[in-house]
């Protein structure tokens, strides 16, 4: 797999007096993967996200994004052409008064030809399922719809990677599902690499890779299954695990080990079925 982003011994602090938010972090991200970054408030996960596209520059060490060193100002445009970013608050990211103008804002700034922009905007809006809203005023949209418009604006720039910093934190369950579906589609259909910073464990269940940050360092890194089976470790750093797994774990501690690592309710039912069948024999 192609390495797209490389953290080499990265440390970061917001000011000289303050403690380091990231501590000697070395980490790679790969092309086409859906990576989820978990961690409690203050674990350094948002700082890490901002270092990826040169919104922040490492205090020590270096970040290489798509072959460009983020510390070199000359590289800023090239980096941001490859990596787009979506933030938590949907209201802070919309710049235009009509949905399609907002999506066109990025490509316009890249100096792309008009007919090409038209085509890209339409395609991007269709992909996030917001095409029918193209002539709407953004402020009348729901949070989930606004976030999808923000995502469309990034796709229209044809970036190869999207970094999202808690994009669903302010959304209701329906809005969260809409955004998650859109992200899955970008990965599947266009092969765009996704780096999702989140608090919601259930959003991490379908990721290719989960990275758990704690106190400025990577605490666990692996597939969702590898990561979530470390129930006690995750709890000790203030994180939750998917409820079906927590239930299986609670049962195991009471002497009923149904086996497996069920991350979803369907998986739990499957494990339970297997368990009762073997018991029945």
């Amino acid at each position: 797999m192609n390495k797209i982003i490389e953290f080499k011994n990265v440390s970061f602090s917001y000011s000289d007096e303050e403690e380091r938010v990231l501590k000697n972090l070395s980490l790679d991200f790969y092309e086409g993967q859906f990576t989820c970054v978990l961690g409690h408030n203050g674990s350094g996960k948002s700082t890490m996200a901002k270092l990826i596209n040169a919104l922040l520059i490492p205090t020590e060490g270096s970040v290489i994004s798509f072959g460009f060193d983020t510390a070199d100002e000359k590289n800023e445009t090239d980096i941001r052409r490859n990596i787009g970013m979506v933030f938590q608050n949907p209201d802070n990211q919309i710049v235009a008064t009509i949905v399609e103008d907002d999506v066109a804002f990025g490509p316009e700034n890249l100096g792309i030809e008009r007919s090409e922009i038209r085509q890209r905007v339409d395609e991007a809006l269709k992909l996030v399922d917001m095409y029918e809203y193209r002539r709407h005023e953004p402020h009348r949209l729901s949070g989930g719809q606004k976030q999808r418009v923000a995502i469309a604006g990034i796709i229209a720039m044809q970036t190869r990677c999207i970094v999202l910093d808690e994009p669903t934190a302010m959304l209701d369950p329906k809005g969260r599902r809409e955004v998650m579906n859109a992200l899955m589609k970008l990965k599947e259909d266009l092969g765009i690499s996704i780096i999702l910073v989140t608090h919601f464990m259930d959003e991490a269940v379908n990721a290719d890779r989960v990275i758990v940050m704690n106190d400025g360092e990577v605490c666990v890194d692996g597939t969702p299954r590898e990561v979530f089976t470390k129930v006690d470790l995750l709890k000790s750093i203030g994180l939750a695990v998917p409820k079906p797994l927590e239930l299986a774990e609670a049962l195991r501690k009471s002497g009923v080990d149904i086996g497996g690592t069920p991350l979803t309710s369907q998986e739990f039912v499957n494990e339970y079925k297997k368990f009762t069948e073997t018991r029945g024999q």
Partner: protein, 287 residues
Amino acid sequence: MSVISVKNLIYGYSKGTPFEKGALKGVSVDFRQGEIVALIGHTGSGKSTLLQHLNGLLKPDSGDVLFEGKSIYESKKSLRDCRFNVGLCFQYPEQQLFESTVYKDIAFGPTNMKLSDDEIKKRVYDSIKYVGLSADYLEKSPFDLSGGEKRRVAIAGVIAMEPKVLILDEPTAGLDPLGKNNLLKLIKDYNEKTGNTVIFVSHNMDDVAAVAHRVIVLSDGELALQGTVDEVYSQGEKLAGLGLDVPEITSVFIELKKAGFDLGDTEYTINGAKEAIIASLMKGGAV
């Protein structure tokens, strides 16, 4: 005894424009003394609109809001009484901090209530303790705090007014699991120690299950369901039909039932689910 009752409340936004929208379509509900009530419903169901009527921020097109049996719209005095007794904490209250120190910010409400200096000081110290922060925070600037801390300071500012009814609009939104648990504990503590009513909005059904005594479900400006957590959550299919999530454990139980396992009532907590599964295995002689 009901502290606040809402009678046949009707309210619409953008009246007389093409964007006119009925937000509340005849809602009647009672909030009783000393209970924790969770208000749930999808975005646009009218939750926030209802909350803003409870302390008279909005005036209904028709219908009435009674605080301790008296209409809050009756006179300026009754509205003022209601405002001091019903503390409303908006979504993302940390965005409303404005003073130079945490102390001054928390003292703002009590000062407006024209309490004595000693009483104000006592209330500031009590409420910062309530929200789980030490007195050292009082001299800090609210803008130097973390997001979770800011939120707790903002809530302390409302608690300092010692409202008989504390209303929180999505108090756990955007917090990490630890911050969320702390806040839920705060809601429970406030209710238990003061005996005051707490009403909160949440999208998270697990949060609701953890603290609420009673659940009210709004859908499209109308009351769709109400009852104890048990009563409401046992109707998992109906909740899903209203576009709401059911707690994850409930969906495990719904799936188990579909697969032919009869485990009795639909559980929604880890412990309840564990007990039910063990009991069913014992009955079957499998353990």
